[in-house]
Amino acid sequence: MSILATLLDPTTGTARVGGHDVRREKRQIRQILGYLPQDFGLYPTLTTFETLDYIGLLYNMTDAAARRRCIEAVMERVNLTGVADRQVGALSGGMRQRVGLAQALLNEPSLLIVDEPTAGLDPAERIRVRSLLAELGGQRVIILSTHLIEDVEAVADRVAVLHRSEIRFEGATAEMLGSVHGKVWEIEAAPAELADLRERHIETGLLRTGDRVRLRIVADAADHPAARPVEPTLEDAYIWLMREDAGVAA
């Protein structure tokens, strides 16, 4: 992420963004890039508007009237208009995250890199940010890095799964879902059976229903009489991809 955002130079190999080399043509890349890092700070004593105004200057938006129009449009888009005059230090985590997103959108980037944008947010705020990303995705390339599969499901149409610097999967989300088609099962069983089932299968979820449990597994075949096939999710596909690391026989 940092290499694509021109913050780090690659130690080996090359990378190009929009045809520009990340080592040599950093400025050209930054012109078309919007970047929201996972861990970021903002100047706490500046208001939301002032923060975006400052960022606008970093994008070389020298025309004050045009910059103001741009900021107002972005604030409207990420629903920050109501807190335009509030100091950033006094905003909630979710609102700060939206300010982060707004600063990344200020230059109408053709490439948006967002790193764990919903981490630490409450459910309502997470849904809001996710929806916004889904909406933005139609107009530009978004590279979303996340550990939350729901984010990917909501936003992405292409996925790459990275594990220990290696790409485990790359392709369309439908393709990734297809990799576990017919392999996801739900088994309603007694709690006493749980240990044995977990021993033999890869678990992707568990739901308690009264005095019984409903276990979701991913496996080539399920030998339990109560097992019934269900629609896979990306989370199931992800767990299936990582099965070697789960240390359980499929």
């Binding site: 940092s2 955002a5 021109t6 913050l7 130079d9 080399d21 080592r23 040599r24 043509e25 950093k26 400025r27 930054r30 012109q31 890039l33 970047y35 890092p37 861990d39 970021f40 700070g41 903002l42 100047y43 004593t45 500046l46 002032e50 105004d53 400052y54 960022i55 200057l57 970093l58 994008y59 070389n60 020298t62 100091q87 982060g100 600063q103």
Partner: protein
């Protein structure tokens, strides 16, 4: 890029600096420091003198010493603020040039440091006003603000540069250490090491600008990719380097300092000796208007030669007395001549202007460490000034008839009695 585009692009740096300045002014830390500086200024501003020169000088000294250290710490922290506030990833992923980011941050942080100096001078002016009830000579605060401001600028620029290039505020402590050594070692260090002395101001402004340009050129060089540093900044660095070298050479050429080099003309002043009944030790030094002045060139008058130091508050009282004497006896051929014994070549001029002095006030460029009197300069040695202030009264042939030192020089009526006696013996 066309010329208007270049101008527009460079207008971004002041615009960024202005926004950072506004953010800094809202911070609690800065407001507390400004309040403390105001109170400190108030306490130093209460000084004697008809004008505000003593108050202004004392405030200038306190400002560059204390706020210099504050500025060093402030600028060190400002240099690494992005890392501390985790704003680096957002800021440096933007297309703005590193040079403008560095200059904007420096400009805003330095403006905040200088506003602290201004707060201290405002406190001093208010303190002085509350005591004297008059704004006479308040222009003196402006001159001393500039002097202290340059020292604060240099200290801040050096610490900012070091902290930025090493990515550690601890590096700023090196400049803080220099500051402490400088304050403690006034008797031992050469004058050229002191950024707050008037004769050194140009040198340290140049060095400060040079350091900021170096920081802008070398900070995060890899961030530019294949692009080179801005030719404007490289050009400014070259100009600042040339200017600093030239200023340093001028300081050494015109100065007199036993720690570095002794000026032959000024050194010769020390070969004379004050003996009552013989001619007063001669000199040729610039007065408050820059004119070379000597006793021989001032005609056959009764001279009241007064050696004084701007660091001694009694000297201010003496200067008032000399002004009164000049008003009272000037038309009868009595002429006070002030000799400012100070390491700072601008102090004499500042006091002469601030106190509205109309008699000649020369600056002894040979002074190394003013409070030490006789040891501070060849001329003070010639006048046997073991302590300041010292007054020598001559007859109309420039022969010393009596000397007064310490309290006799600025208090009591001994001086007037001696002048009256001389006027009776040598009427005009």
């Amino acid at each position: 890029m066309s010329q208007p585009d270049v101008a527009r692009a460079w207008s971004v740096a002041p615009a960024l600096a202005w926004r950072e300045l506004r953010a800094g002014l809202r911070s609690a830390a800065w407001r507390v420091l400004a309040a403390l500086a105001f109170v400190y200024g108030w306490s130093t501003g209460n000084a004697p003198g008809r004008g505000a020169s003593v108050s202004a000088y004392a405030t200038g000294e306190a400002a560059w010493v204390a706020l210099g250290l504050v500025a060093i710490l402030w600028m060190s922290l400002a240099a690494v603020r992005e890392a501390q506030m985790r704003t680096e990833a957002i800021i440096y992923a933007k297309p703005q040039t590193t040079e403008r980011l560095v200059l904007a941050r420096f400009g805003a942080s330095m403006a905040l440091a200088l506003l602290l100096v201004a707060a201290m001078f405002a406190g001093a002016a208010c303190g002085r006003l509350s005591v004297s009830g008059s704004v006479a000579g308040f222009a003196a605060y402006g001159g001393q603000f500039a002097r202290a401001g340059v020292a604060v600028f240099f200290g801040g620029a050096a610490s900012y540069c070091l902290a930025l290039l090493t990515a550690s505020p601890v590096a700023g402590a090196v400049v803080g250490l220099y500051w402490v050594v400088m304050i403690a070692g006034r008797e031992h260090l050469a004058k050229v090491f002191y950024p707050a002395y008037t004769q050194n101001l140009a040198l340290y402004v140049g060095l400060g600008v040079l350091l900021v340009c170096v920081a802008a050129i070398f900070h995060r060089r890899g961030r530019r990719g294949a692009a080179a540093a801005s030719p404007w900044v490289r050009g400014a660095a070259a100009v600042a380097l040339t200017f600093s070298l030239w200023s340093g050479w001028v300081v050494l050429r015109d100065g007199h300092d036993p720690q570095v080099w002794t000026h032959p003309t000024l050194e010769r002043f020390g070969m004379q000796n004050l003996v009552v009944g013989r001619r007063a030790p001669g000199f040729l030094l610039p007065d408050q208007h820059g004119r070379p002045t000597s006793l021989a060139g001032l005609g056959d008058r009764i001279f009241v030669v007064a050696l004084w130091s701007p660091r001694s508050r009694e000297s201010a009282v003496l200067l008032e007395r000399l002004s009164d004497l000049y008003a009272r006896y000037g038309e009868r051929g009595v002429l006070p001549v002030g000799i400012c014994i100070s390491e700072d070549s601008g102090a004499g001029v500042a006091f002469a202007r601030g106190e509205g002095i109309r008699f000649p006030m020369v600056t002894d460029r040979g002074a190394h460490h003013a409070p030490r009197g006789a040891e501070s300069s060849p001329l003070a040695t010639a006048y046997r000034a073991s302590s300041l202030p010292l007054v020598a009264v001559t007859d109309r042939r420039r022969r010393v008839r009596r000397t007064f030192s310490g309290i006799e020089a600025y208090d009591g009526s001994w001086l007037e009695l001696e002048i009256e006696r001389r006027l009776r013996m040598e009427p005009e």
